[in-house]
């Protein structure tokens, strides 16, 4: 594919795109989607994270079969202490319309590395699974005007009330029954009321300062206040130097780049997406160097402004996406190697219809199997993609790419949403492994799907890496309406093939 950047009329740029400012991490997609086997049951789990923490998360569980009778929910730490004891679980309610669908609410009381522990009971026995959730408040809320007015009225009433009480206590409280207040007493009362008013004003100011401090403190607990930035520079030797610069106390105290853990084989998954049309995408895997920075031998890169999304996982299993931008010149780099890959596609424009067919570099094609109904925000769904060879026959030779059947990146046109999703969902594989490790041992099951490559196996790929399947699917839900570009990557004959699709979400 060629470079399409110069073909786009400039007015479209102005009309259709917000310039991709550095967004904050996990990048606009807080809800967690997970699809996998739990014992004998196959389930699709959606965890709708609360806006504030502590807050109430909604957990939706859809079972593939209708023989699940009961679903119970709990929240535990992902690892370390706090994952051995469990509270009395919450019971998810079965939908009266769909016996395979369960919905429950659960309090998320703490931030950082947690898991939703789901216990299933059905005709084929009991099963348990842990879904990692990185728990952070998404924002703090402003007070509604009506409530603000009500509380202001109450505060004025209480203030006048207490000053009046002080006045009465000085004026009359010590008089004998029947005795009338004197002029001197009235004067003293007025002085006391004045003093009480001044004192009250100080108390209100101090209270206001306390409120603001608490609000500031709450803001520092939010995801956006803790998400890291990606600071990138192109060195003279053509290599990209990338530093993850964390924000907030969490990064200052606990999270160290030296302790990042590998997520499906790599410490960092770096996505470079050319702006504003997302016509080029690079999926690279920089190596960590001394001091905690990362270095990448760039492949051949076309000049332009690139959006950086750098996925990393800290040593507690919490995934982060460092966000940044860099202007790159034409780089005559090294040939792609290892798991690095790239894709080119025509520009993403609002005027284009949704695409469901993508040509692959090897002459094959990838088909997004979706019905004609419009895509809607906040609706969890399974994105199915079928891969065909150049003769339009379903392929039988999909290989594991970094241990999984496929990888997908969902990016909103303004870069305010970025999600790196696998067949197991939006959870990080490293976190998933920690969650699996915390589960009580389950007895081995018969008819376990045959894995293509045991070395590359992850708990999450067990259901997707059946050798005969030409399809790959990703559980995900768009967090908000808008125009999205989806990069879907699979591997055949040792080469990574990327299908690019555009989607309008209502």
């Amino acid at each position: 594919m060629g470079d399409h950047r110069m073909r786009i009329p400039s007015f479209l740029v102005a009309l259709s795109f917000v310039v991709c400012a550095p967004a904050n991490a996990h990048v606009g997609s807080a809800d967690v989607f997970y699809e996998n086997d739990a014992g004998p049951y196959h389930v699709f789990v959606t965890v709708r994270m609360p806006k504030v923490i502590p807050g109430l998360a909604q957990v939706e569980i859809r079972s593939e079969s209708n023989d699940v009778h009961e679903v119970r929910l709990n929240i535990l730490r992902l690892s370390g202490f706090g994952y051995k004891l469990q509270a009395i679980p919450d019971l998810a309610q079965r939908s009266p319309e769909d016996p395979r669908f369960f919905v429950g609410s659960i309090w998320v009381m703490e931030t950082y590395d947690l898991q939703v522990r789901i216990q299933l009971d059905g005709a084929r026995g009991k099963a348990e699974l842990g879904v990692p959730i990185p728990a952070f408040a998404q924002d703090t809320l402003r007070m509604q005007k009506s409530l603000g007015a009500l509380l202001l009225g109450c505060m004025i009433f209480l203030s006048i009330g207490i000053v009046s009480v002080v006045g009465a206590s000085v004026r009359e409280a010590q008089l004998q029954p029947g005795e009338a207040p004197t002029v001197k007493g009235l004067r003293k009362a007025r002085t006391a009321m004045f003093g009480a008013s001044a004192l009250l004003l100080i108390v209100i100011c101090l209270g206001n300062a306390w409120w603001k401090a608490d609000a500031r403190n709450s803001q520092t607990q939010t995801w956006s206040s803790n998400s890291p930035n990606a600071l990138a520079t192109l060195r003279s030797d053509g290599r990209l130097l990338l530093r993850v610069q964390g924000q907030g106390e969490l990064w200052a105290t606990y999270i160290k780049p030296e302790k990042f853990i590998p997520d499906h084989g790599h410490l960092m998954h770096l996505f470079l997406i050319r702006l504003p049309y997302m016509d080029r995408m690079y999926h690279l895997h920089p190596e960590r160097i001394e001091g905690g920075s990362f270095l990448e031998n760039l492949p051949t890169v076309f000049a332009g402004k690139y959006q950086i999304f750098a996925d990393i996982v800290d040593d507690s299993g919490v995934p982060w996406t460092a966000v940044g931008q860099i202007d790159l010149p034409n780089v005559a780099g090294m040939p792609l190697s290892g798991d690095d890959s790239q894709a080119s596609e025509g520009p993403l424009t609002p005027t284009k219809d949704d695409s469901t067919l993508a040509q692959l570099p090897d002459g094959g094609r990838m088909i997004w199997e979706r019905d004609s109904s419009p895509l809607r925000a906040n609706v969890p769904m399974s994105f199915h993609f079928r891969v065909e060879d150049r003769n339009k026959r379903a392929v039988q030779d999909i290989e594991p790419y970094m241990g999984m059947a496929g990888h997908a990146a969902f990016v909103r046109s303004d870069c305010s949403v970025f999600a790196h999703v696998h067949p197991a969902g939006s959870v990080s594989m490293a976190a998933l492994q920690l969650a699996q490790a915390s589960l009580p041992p389950a007895p081995p099951r018969a008819n376990e799907p045959q894995l293509v490559n045991q070395r590359d196996s992850h708990p999450a790929m067990q259901m997707t890496m059946n050798v005969s399947s030409p399809e790959v699917s990703f559980p995900y839900g768009f967090p908000k309406a808008g125009l999205y570009r989806i990069f879907v990557q699979i591997k055949r004959s040792g080469r990574v093939q990327t299908g690019v699709f555009d989607a309008h979400v209502e």
Partner: protein, 415 residues
Amino acid sequence: MNAELTTRVVVAQNGDVAGPHTSQPVSIDIPVPKATSATFRIPAAIWCMLVAITSDMIGGYWDVAWHQSIGRDTFWTPAHLAIQLCGVLGGLTSGFLILSTTFGHSPAAYQRRSASVKIWGFRGPLGAFIAAWGGFAMITSAPFDNWWHSAYGLDVTILSPPHVLLMSGSIAIDIGTLILIGGAMNRSHGDLRAMFRRLFLYVGGIIVMHSCFLITEYTGSGALHSATAYLVVSMAVPLALVGVARASEHRWGNAIIVAVYTAAVLAQLWILPLFAAQPKLGPVYQNVTHFIPMAFPLLLIVPGLALDLLRRATKPWKPWLQAVSTGTVFLASFVSLQWPFANFLMSPLSRNRIFGTHYFSYDDTAGFMYDPYRFQASENTRSQFWMVMTVALVAAILTTRLGFVWANWIKRVQR
């Protein structure tokens, strides 16, 4: 007891007691009971207020234990209902007192009106107005707290702005009850005065308990070798303790007040764990099978006794000198006992049902993130420690002096 005496009260035509602000006064005779006999009953309104503040005290401890053992609550938990009963009963009783005093036409109403204060055209005992203010503050805290949860998350701390407003309301109901009883006490004699005085001291104990409740986060056993703990106690306790004790004029006033506080805290420490409870929120760090109570009370009983003994010796002294000596003795006696006792609370000998140092909230990371049996220093250096301790001494003296002022004012309250 029948009303044998009458008193002539000059009232304005609108029912107000006459004064510079009234006009066209008229005279009426109202009966005044001879408030000295034990047969004269404590007014039902006072009993209602006592029930209200006792319910609040029980509800407060119950609620903390609920949060430490079960975690999840609703508006309708028994603990919350007990707290709400305080606001409702206190508010209704105060409202009744104010409305019946303002608009009543019976001789009793005239009598109450003569011993009332006037606020915004309404008449009633000062304590009723203070308690009504407290009830309204408690009601206001409800939507404020609800919004706070939705904006910043469900706050799990005792000290947050809406919680402080709620506690200000309940403390106001305590103080309103105290003033209501104080006024009646000051107008009575003999057995009745003794009875009022007992109730007065009981309310003082509840106020001290409320003060200690507010500073719980600073006075855990791990903090008791830090000067900060003694600073917050010096700021929170002497005002209420010395003020109420001195106003009661009881020779063991301080000791009785502290005994009420100690008994209440010990009761919740020993009774609540008898009931089964399990966490309903996660993550769970501690295995909880029963209600987890609040910690062993602060050893204020010794300062209480010391202050009573000191008061007799320093009676002829000037107020400021009394304040210096009282504040110093309060802090010195408290530190000298609490400090070594904190060592005991850290030892395995205290990990039993009597002292309860083995109780941990389900969400307490004790044993994982920190050693609960090791002191946590709030001050980094020795000089910092002594500086904070000096501030604590100054605070104890100042709050004691304020307590004297408050006591002198209460002693003269008639309405």
